[in-house]
Symmetry: C2
Subunit: 213 residues, 2 copies
Amino acid sequence: MNTADLPPERRRRGRPPKQDGAHQATRERLIRTGVAILTEKGLSAVGIEEILIAAGVPKGSFYYYFGSKEEFGGVLIVAYASYFARKLDHWFMNEARLPLERLRDFIEDAKAGMARHGFRRGCLVGNLGQEMGTLPEPFREKLHDVFLDWQARTARCLQAAKEAGQIAAHEDCDHLAAFFWIGWEGAVLRAKLERSPAPLDAFARGFFAALRL
Amino acid sequence: MNTADLPPERRRRGRPPKQDGAHQATRERLIRTGVAILTEKGLSAVGIEEILIAAGVPKGSFYYYFGSKEEFGGVLIVAYASYFARKLDHWFMNEARLPLERLRDFIEDAKAGMARHGFRRGCLVGNLGQEMGTLPEPFREKLHDVFLDWQARTARCLQAAKEAGQIAAHEDCDHLAAFFWIGWEGAVLRAKLERSPAPLDAFARGFFAALRL
């Protein structure tokens, strides 16, 4: 429910409304900072204090913005997933390019993004997925759902490629999209380990070879 | 240097020799337990105490066996890498099977191994690779070298497949082996997340599609 729908008098009573500008700006800064740190280090090894310091938010005020570290983690997953879904749509729905070239454009953009951060930052969802042995169990379904969403967007792009005759009619685009995301996350992991774009290129080359007509 | 090469009188002086049977047995138990826990949880989120308790070794005695948590981590990487290299050789050098079937046998064995542990345990090297943002920098080269070793063993199996006419003569077996390990680690990550063999099967299907003549 969007609190903008609440009648004004309800929004004035009790503690300051959560939509208070400064409160909201600080909360968003914590989310942005949290996403940046978690793409590098995951969640298990990161203390809330590290995120507060990086965001320039006073220690001890964390619980004014989030109920728990677990709730914060859930918010970061949603924020990253929707940021990334917009990024995928930007590339995959670019009608100026043939569908497979849109996928190549996404790959090039991801490579440039990783290079910009010295290949220290990877994928928040991949990092947390790898950490499920130590994370709260409810994260499992959230993370899996994010992959399913990205795969569905990718499958639509591959379906368009099939309709454009770029991949064979017998290919299963859902299977191919799952194959892409399973392997791509491995490639991001290796690119971080090697501090190099080579694993991203190696996976892309293999993936497009699997698609060849 | 193997201490068995030292003259006997040197081995009797000072503190008890490290080759003392009980000492060695406890050290090996710590390594086995450490490998099991790290394949599930990685290193950053695991305390030495958790490993000592699981191994039934008294708290406080850790430093009798290892100089530091970092040294212990390095020993676990070596132990896991050599265990895994033997496993790869077992499957990849099985002359009773055609080379690509050897790779399929390895995949089936890995699936069965993950299933046996409820898909909670993955790859120690993949886990630590994902954690490089928080691990000691010297681990990076160690982990990368392990992947290069596994890739070299896999490339030899693929080379045999090429010689047997199972893959096209123009394929680059080193590239294919890198593609396999980049994607396979992603598949192991997803299999842990989903607690299911489906991602391993999905990656294998895509990989073998990329090899088709």
